[in-house]
Structure formats: C-alpha cells, structure tokens
C-alpha cells in the first residue's frame, strides 16, 4: 500500500543542515494499522507528511497504492490525495467559517459529486462518528473530542484507502482519546482502511497492529 525506499529529508539554511529523516525504508501493507512513536523532533510528523504527499522528501522514492509519486504540486497529485488519502491532525484544522457538515463535505467539493450526494455522504460520515446532531454547529461550538470526531468524519467521507493521523489524541483527554482510537480501529477493521498514526502515547500505540520507533530521523525499531 505504502512503500518508502531510502527516504531522507534534509532542511538546509545558509549556515546549518539538519537531517530530519535518514534513509527510511518502510512498507505499510493494505489494511494495516501502524503507529509511529518517538521523542519530539525525531521526524515522526515529517515522515507522515511525506507519506501523505504533503511534503517532498530530499531523496528516495515513494509508492502509494502502487503509484510512484514524482510531482508534488501537480493537479494529478492533488486528485490522488483527494481520492486515496484522508488526514487527521492533532489540532483538528477545521475551517472556522464553515459549519460541521460543510467542513466534512470539504474533500467532496473537489470531486464531481452533486450537492445532494455530498450532503448524504457527509451525513453518513458524521453518523459514523456519532455527531449526526451537530451538523449545523460551527467548530467553536464544539468540544475538543467533538472537533476531532468531525475531523475524522472529514477524513473518511471520501472513502480513502489510507488515513494518516498526526497525533489525533494529542489534544484530548484520555476518555476522548480512547473514543477516537476506537473509531479508527473500527474503521480499520470494518473497512480495511490502512491507517498510519503518529503518537506520543504508548497506550494508544499498543492498540494498533504494528509500532515503529524513530530516533533522530532513523528507524530504530
């Protein structure tokens, strides 16, 4: 499903060169729930961003769903992200000017889908995260856990084959965190969705199929 070969990421300034990822080889098969752990600054989020085609590696190749990615800014890559990938961010990244259902509909706006169908799909996604009664609310009217569930609904509304979650429980208390992991696990089991999750929480990581650890940009386990 996701194949990373010899991926490196180097940040260069005039005076300093920082290696964020160092020759990472990783294979995430279809339907796996993988978690990535490691101390702050070890390159977890960078790795996730590269897998999600949100950032370009400095070296190496990426294959996602059998397709080798070369151009990151093209229309085709945008469409690929739209159809194959779903993202969940630690700080939710909901658009404050849009209400809940419009936020969830967002990925569908960039597909040729009628408004009626979009509404239906978004409603189903919200139902699946238990927020069917919050459609017309705006993000600032929701709790942290509710926001993250809206973000999950947005990530799954387009039926992506891969979900990339960057510390999805990082801003939540343990009860809400458990709820989020429960939803993700259900998605993984019922829909066979591949999930890659970055987390600091060992307890959450233990609930996933596989755990890899990064240290200073290198995979250590």
């Amino acid at each position: 499903m996701i194949k990373l070969n010899n991926i490196t990421k180097v940040y260069r300034t005039k005076t300093i060169e920082t290696t964020a990822l160092n020759e990472i080889d990783l294979h995430v098969p279809k339907g796996e729930f993988l978690s990535i752990m490691g101390p702050s600054g070890c390159g977890k989020s960078t790795l996730l961003n590269i897998m999600g085609l949100l950032d370009e590696p400095s070296g190496g190749t990426i294959q996602v769903d059998g397709q080798t990615i070369s151009k990151y800014t093209s229309k085709a890559t945008a469409q690929f992200r739209n159809k194959k990938l779903g993202f969940i961010f630690q700080s939710f990244h909901l658009i404050p000017d849009l209400n809940v259902i419009d936020n969830v509909e967002l990925p569908l706006l960039y597909r040729k889908i009628s408004k009626k169908d979009r509404r239906e799909m978004a409603s189903k996604a919200l139902e699946s995260v238990g927020l069917a009664n919050r459609k017309q609310h705006f993000p600032n009217q929701l709790s942290g856990g509710q926001k993250q569930r809206v973000a999950i609904a947005r990530a799954i509304v387009g039926n992506p084959t891969i979900i990339l979650a960057d510390e999805p429980t990082g801003n939540l208390d343990s009860v809400m965190g458990d709820e989020v992991i429960e939803i993700l696990t259900k998605l993984n089991k019922e829909n066979n969705t591949t999930i890659v999750m970055v987390t600091h929480d060992e307890r959450m990581a233990m609930k996933t199929d596989r755990l890899i650890r990064l240290y200073d940009g290198s995979q250590i386990a």
Binding site: L54, H93, I95, P96, R111
Partner: protein, 446 residues
C-alpha cells in the same frame, strides 16, 4: 463548483463581519461619492440641454487692444577733470513693456469682421450679466436677463416647454418680448406654468412673456439666465465705440473645424483697422482670444495669463489627480485588506490542498470571494449615490443644478472595481496557493 464558491464567499462575508464592514464601507463610500461628483460634472459640463452642441462651441468674450510702452532713460556719468566735476548725460529710448485694454466686443466689430466666417455654421451675440431689479408686490427680485439675438436659441437648445422663443423680426424691431425660466415664473407670477402672454415690468418697459424654459442650474450665466430678451429691446446706457461694446460671441463650428475656426478668428483680428478715431492711445494690435466651452470654463477656475488651453490642461490634470487620489487610496486599502485576509487563511489553504484542492481551486475561490464582495460594495455605492443625489436635488444644495444618475459611469466603475477586486485577490491567492502544504498547515491559525 462555482455555486460552492459563491456560497462560501457569502458565508465568509457573513462570518467575518468587521472585515466585511471595512471592505464594503471603503468600496461603497468611494464609489458613491465618485458617482455624485461625476453627476455634478456631467450636469455642469455634459452635452445636455442647453449645451447639446457644446463640443462645437467657440467663444469670444472680448477684444484686446495692445500697445508697447517706451521709456526714455537718462544715464548720468560724472567725470573728475582738473579738480572739477563734469556731467555727461546719455538718453536711451527703449521698450518698457506692453499695455492691453480689454473689453467685450462691439456690434460694429462683430457685424463687420466676425460674421460669416467660413468654418462656422452659426453664431450668436449676446450681452451677459445684465442684472435688473424688478418688484413683485413690493418685494425686490433681481433677475439676470440675457439680451441676445435670435440665433441664441438655435445654439443654446433650451427646451421651450411653453410658448416659443423670439425670432429675427422681433430682434430687428426691438419688440419687448421675453422668454423666462420656470424659476423666474415662480418668483414673479407664483406659478411654473401658464405664464405665456403675461406681462412683466422691467426697467420701465412692459415685456410680454412669450415662452418658458426649465431651469438647468448651470453656473455660467449666459447658459442659465433668468430670462432672455432681444438685445434691441433694452436701450444700453453704454457709449457706442468702434472697438469695445457689450457683446460676447458664441460660434458653432462646422464639424471638425474647431481649430480652423479659432485660427480664422485670430486671423480676422489682423484685418481690424487701427486708424479709427476711437484708437486714442495708439494701440498697435487687435487680438481676439477664441476658446472652446471647456477652455472658457477652465479659465474661470484657473486663469493662466489668457492661455485657455493651458488652463483646460491644468484643470483636466487636477481632476485626473483628484480622481486617482480618491480611487487609489481605497484600492490600496482594499488590496491590503485582501492580502492580510488571505494570508490569515493560510492554514485553511493548507487543509484544502491536503484534501485535494489544486492551485486553480484556491485562486478561483479567493477571486470569487473578492468579486462577491466588490459587487456588493458597488451595489451599496449605487444606493449611496442615489440617495445623495436625491437629497442634493430635493434640498437644492447646489443651487439650481439638477444631478442625474450616470448609469454608464456606474457600469464603468463596477468594471474597474471588479478588476481591482480580481487583481487584489489574485496576487495573494496565487502566492498562497504555491505555498507548501506543510508550511501552510504550520501556521495553525484554524
């Protein structure tokens, strides 16, 4: 997709109330004020009645007689010779300047030299600024009565709404007939209609009202007089002279002949004799200064030594500068607001791109938002202008000037503001759309 963009634009306007208010206030207020100013210019300088032929007008206000002054300058040198002071005086005779006498034109100059010029299709002579006091029920009423020939009515196309204007026979015979404005009718007779065949007692003469025209509110007195009467109907107290008299002349140039007519008029000045007994001060040159209507108007605002073309150029420049000043400032403000608004939404751009928006989607979204905002501002501007024009017209704050709404300018203004709206949205949207998704998301302003 476009429907989504429009929907989103509408929501953004509603959600970001303060920003929306500032933007709409800037656009609508600027547009509204500009439209009122343009309505005034259109009313004052536009080609509308009685100035429908204005663009072919060539005007002579006066005759100038010029002479050169000479001075005798004594220079005294002192020389010491054999303990004595000797004086040696030299006399120099040289030019010390020019003197000009100016006044309105005489009938004889007009009839002999200025009539029937080949590049003019028509001409009228008239005496402006003739103020007469009349009394209505013991109350003084000052009337600006224009005394003219019959051609006045074919050059200045006042709409006669009742009766008729006077003709050549009435001018030749000096018949005391008068055509009055609706305001004069109201002030004198207490009504704005049914005044034909009524009588007015002016300067010891009883005038018969033969026509009525609406007030047009123009500033120039001979365009907007209170009444017009044959110039022969009132005896001028002014002494008849060969060079100077009480008249102004307005020509109607043949098509594309303004320059030729001006040059013909200047050339004719050279044929006016200088050996007439009325040339008491030995003037050496007769000068006519023909000018177009706009030049004459500009000279009234900014006089530059008689160079009417320069006055007009300066007036145009001032108007353009004012126009630019009052449009560029709000435009820059709008651009600045748009830039900061779009920059402020970088995280949103990151999220949209992460979920599949490409560069074109992002740019289109922000441009549509700007277009919606600009159109809304323009509509409010339209309303502001309309309300202000009604207030000015009903309250008479600009005298008799009647402002009308200029739809053409409104359309041009909307197109211009749309262009600014699109450009001011495009530049920051393009810049932001090129932003790496991770960098945009790092802003974390959501």
């Amino acid at each position: 997709m476009l429907k989504n963009y429009l929907n989103l634009a509408w929501r953004i306007l509603g959600r970001r109330k303060f920003f929306t208010f500032i933007s709409l206030f800037g656009i609508s207020f600027t547009l509204g004020i500009l439209m009122v100013v343009l309505s005034f210019l259109q009313s004052e300088l536009g080609t509308n009645s009685p100035l429908s032929n204005k663009d072919s007008f060539v005007y002579i206000q006066q005759t100038s007689l010029q002479r050169t002054y000479y001075d005798t300058i004594p220079t005294i040198d002192t020389i010491f010779e054999k303990d004595q002071i000797l004086y040696d005086t030299t006399y120099t005779y040289k030019e010390s300047g020019t003197g000009v006498s100016q006044s309105s034109l005489s009938n004889s100059i007009i009839e002999t030299y200025l009539k029937d010029l080949p590049s003019a299709s028509n001409m009228t002579k008239f005496m402006p600024g003739n103020l007469q006091d009349v009394y209505v029920n013991g109350i003084k009423l000052s009337l600006n009565i224009l005394l003219s020939d019959a051609n006045y009515w074919s050059i200045f196309d006042h709409k006669i709404i009742e009766g008729r204007s006077f003709g050549e026979e009435e001018v030749e015979s000096g018949t005391p007939v008068i055509v009055i404005s609706t305001e004069t009718a109201m002030n004198y007779f207490g009504r704005k209609e049914n005044v034909v065949n009524e009588e007015m007692f002016i300067n010891g003469i009883t005038y018969k009202v033969i026509g009525l025209y609406p007030n047009n509110g123009k500033i120039i007195s001979y365009v907007s007089p209170d009444a017009v009467s044959p110039y022969t109907s009132m005896v001028s107290s002014r002494k008849k002279e060969f060079y100077f008299g009480p008249f102004n002349v307005m020509y109607l140039a043949k098509p594309n002949s303004i320059k030729q007519l001006k040059s013909d008029i200047k050339a004719v000045a050279g044929t006016v004799p200088l050996d007439h007994p009325d040339n008491k001060y030995d003037y050496k040159e007769v000068i006519f200064q023909p000018e177009t209507y706009n030049e004459m108007y500009a000279e009234g605002i900014y006089y530059d030594g008689g160079d009417a073309e320069k006055s007009l150029s300066i007036m145009k420049l001032v108007l353009i500068c004012l126009f630019l000043f009052f449009t560029i400032l709000p435009t820059l403000n709008l651009i600045n607001l748009n830039v900061s608004r779009i920059m402020d939404r970088s995280s949103e751009i990151g999220v949209r791109k992460a979920f599949g928006a490409h560069q074109g989607n992002i740019i289109t979204q922000f441009i549509v938002e700007n277009i919606v905002q600009t159109l809304l501002g323009s509509l409010i501007g339209f309303l502001i202008a309309w309300i202000l024009i009604q207030i000015i017209n009903n309250g008479g704050y600009l005298g008799n000037s009647v402002l009308s709404f200029n739809l053409k300018f409104f359309v041009y203004s909307i197109l211009a503001t749309l262009l600014f709206g699109v450009l001011s949205g495009f530049v920051p949207a393009y810049k932001m759309s090129k932003l790496q998704i991770v960098d945009a998301l790092k802003e974390n302003k959501l």
